[in-house]
């Protein structure tokens, strides 16, 4: 039975959360996430969702509440944007280090200073190294489906998952979304059964001080030191790709909707120029690819869906035949270049991929990115490469730079 509604991204996320039935929700409002926090409180107060909604006094606390509730065995949800996510930084590390299946939506927004309420991805990008899985959504349907997948993934690999989607571009834009029924969701996502929740039946001290070296427990068994714990987290992240792909495939089988596992491709088979990016800008790139093809440039798109763990191997396969690459990204590691661009170059090193990479920093603080501008960028990249210019470039798109 299909139930297609014309809704905004925040409502798509809220509907997914309702379907996932978390026991505890904690959130603090910030534009453009606010509506999501509001809709969820409405579900809870109306009795449509039986959950403890903790109306915390800050984002640091919203994630802390989720971490602790998850520790005692509840399924949890939180959401934020921009400076709210930055304010959570300490707890982002804590959630991942605790190996808890916390699911959060990051409604992407630029960070201050100066203030901007508009979209870019600097917020979640700057939390890249906290140990969270990060998935970027293209459209509102993908938001709903990805939140459900996020719980499946998190509860299998014991890592927190951040579902990222662009503020306003998706959060406040109406699109048709097919809302799955509860039965279908139940098949895909059974109720959470934590293996060993903290309780008086299991009196342990969680996350005490670890020493650098391994130490013996009371029975003389040598236990992990800090580094072993950290290696396990890295290992779990490296291996989580398999779970992410499986969750995506299974959901595709059940719902008929496949958003790609780690990355997705559009008209790449014969492409000379590959455009790439994360989130809605990658969707826009598909329109640009069509337009470029109409001009005779064989363009395609590789959309990076999962940023952490980074799909390096898939990327090598997907970009193997490209002659030029244009990365469009709404974030930058200041003092160097965009994060996707850096990761792609690292993945390509030593694989024989020599296509020049033009890194276009675009849409910061909500600066409009039109398909026409992506087309022009693609054209310029091809022209440079055809003229024999093999340099990688960093270009601020649609920005006055003198």
């Amino acid at each position: 039975m299909s139930d297609v509604r014309i809704i905004m991204g925040n409502e798509a996320a809220a509907l997914a959360v309702k379907l996932a039935r978390p026991g505890v929700i904690a959130a603090y409002p910030i534009t453009p996430q606010t509506k999501l926090a509001e809709i969820l409180s409405e579900y809870v107060e109306a009795g449509e969702l039986k959950a403890e909604y903790v109306r915390v006094e800050s984002e640091h606390s919203s994630l802390t509440v989720c971490i602790a509730a998850s520790t005692v065995g509840a399924r949890v949800f939180t959401a934020t944007s921009s400076n709210g996510l930055l304010y959570m930084h300490e707890q982002l590390h804590w959630a991942a280090g605790s190996r808890l299946p916390v699911v959060m939506c990051c409604v992407n927004r630029g960070v201050g200073a100066p203030w901007s309420i508009f979209n870019d991805q600097q917020d979640s990008f700057s939390q890249r190294d906290t140990g969270w899985i990060q998935i970027y959504c293209r459209d509102n349907q993908e938001i709903l489906d990805t939140v459900l997948q996020a719980y499946r993934i998190a509860e299998e690999v014991y890592l927190p998952v951040m579902v990222c989607y662009d503020g306003f571009v998706l959060s406040h834009t109406m699109m048709p979304v097919d809302v799955p029924d509860e039965e279908l969701v139940r098949k895909f996502l059974p109720p959470y059964r934590p293996p060993d929740p903290l309780s008086p039946d299991r009196p342990v001290t969680i996350n005490p001080v670890f020493f650098p070296s391994r130490r013996e427990n009371a029975e003389g068994v040598l236990c992990d030191g800090y580094m072993e714990m950290r290696w396990k987290m890295q290992n779990a992240l490296e291996r989580s790709g398999e779970t992410i792909r499986k969750a995506s495939d299974e959901w595709a089988k059940l719902s008929g909707r496949d958003h790609g596992g780690m990355l997705w491709e559009y008209r790449t088979a014969d492409a000379d120029l590959l455009l790439t990016g994360m989130g809605s800008i990658a969707t826009e790139a598909t329109l640009a690819a069509d337009a470029l093809r109409a001009e005779g440039i064989r363009a395609g798109v590789v959309g990076i869906r999962v940023f952490r763990p980074f799909p390096g191997k898939e990327a090598v396969r997907a970009f193997a035949k490209a002659r030029a690459v244009a990365v469009f990204e709404k974030c930058i590691s200041y003092g160097y270049e965009g994060g996707v661009s850096s990761d792609l170059k690292a993945a390509f090193y030593g694989t024989g991929i020599t296509a020049p990479i033009h890194d276009y920093i675009a849409g910061l603080g909500g600066r409009d990115v039109k398909t026409r501008e992506l087309v022009e960028a693609g054209r310029a990249t091809v022209a440079a490469v055809e003229a024999g210019d093999r340099e990688n470039k960093l270009i601020w798109l649609n920005c006055r730079t003198e």
Binding site: H60, T64, S199, T205, F210
Partner: protein, 300 residues
């Protein structure tokens, strides 16, 4: 109400041999807190001496479950446990957040105030050793006027201690109390009572600290008693807005309300060795004023 030591729960929840210093006021208090709350309790811990007391992975000397969290987050973490347990219908477990004065008065005030304003169903207890002891005795908002700390090493602390009990009282929570490990029965009874109350219960514990305060380890109980007998620390409880003296402070109030002079407390601790007469006078005046205020409150 158990009025004698013989009625105290005999079971021990802290095994012999923990990592706190000899003569630690916190150790003493914690032992009686857990006796009062018993096994169906989960403790929230921020970075502090309490975290150290619990031991290094993979061993601990504490037999109740505990969750470490970040410095600012203990109240929110305990609120999260309370919410999670309620979501799972586990309503018979007591959640205790136990923070030092730094984790309460300073970096922890935001999440505590939020949790108290929401009347979170938990006990938040602050063990107040009047400085950041875990990091080596730096000044906190709870450090008294005139005390030397490692960040007020020459001039002593120039600002008076934050009146945190007033701040917590302004949250109009169902239960607020002060306790001292020097009076373990009073401490025990208050935690037993707090356990039965729903909503936010705030308990402040005066925990003398030999290395941080500078007195011999054998004197912890004596220092704790002097704090009460000088009126610097008053034993009371406020239940649904009603103020009541308890224990030693109650007897003192009933027997004419005389306080020992503060100097007898101050001169026994090397942290006050640079305290000026003026500072001592200011502190004494504050103590006298507050004692009068409490005596009036107890009457009316």
């Amino acid at each position: 109400m158990s009025e004698t030591i013989f009625k105290v729960n005999e079971k021990e929840y802290i095994l012999p041999g923990n990592r706190a210093c000899q003569g630690c006021g916190l150790s003493l208090a914690y032992r009686y807190i857990l006796k009062a709350l018993r096994e169906n309790t989960i403790v929230g811990i921020p970075p502090s001496c309490l975290c150290v007391l619990h031991g290094l992975y993979p061993t601990t000397s504490v037999t109740v479950p505990a969750l470490n969290t970040t410095f600012a987050g203990n109240a929110a973490s305990a609120a999260g446990m309370a919410a999670g347990l309620r979501a799972l219908n586990k309503t018979d477990i007591t959640v205790l957040a136990l923070s030092g004065d730094g984790g309460t008065y300073d970096i922890g005030i935001q999440s505590l105030s939020g949790a108290a304003e929401r009347n979170t169903d938990f006990i938040f207890a602050c063990y107040d050793n009047e400085a950041y002891m875990n990091t080596g005795t730096q000044r906190s908002g709870a450090t008294p006027l005139g005390a030397l700390t490692s960040t007020t090493p020459i001039l002593t602390k120039q600002d008076p201690k934050k009146d945190f009990l007033k701040i917590m009282e302004a949250h109009h929570i169902p239960y607020l109390a002060t306790v001292s490990p020097a009076y373990p029965i009073d401490l025990y009874d208050k935690f037993v009572k707090a356990k039965k109350i729903r909503g936010t219960r705030y308990i402040q514990i005066d925990t003398p600290c030999p290395p941080g305060w500078g007195y011999p380890t054998k004197d912890t109980v004596r220092i704790g008693q002097l704090a009460v007998e000088t009126g610097l620390f008053i034993l009371f409880e406020i239940e649904d807005g009603r103020f009541r003296f308890t224990g030693r402070s109650k007897t003192m109030a009933e027997r004419g309300g005389k306080l020992l002079p503060l100097v007898g407390y101050v001169e026994r601790q090397s942290r006050f060795r640079k305290m000026s007469m003026e500072q001592l006078g200011t502190l004494q005046a504050w103590v006298n004023g507050r004692w009068e205020e409490c005596l009036k409150r107890a009457e009316g």
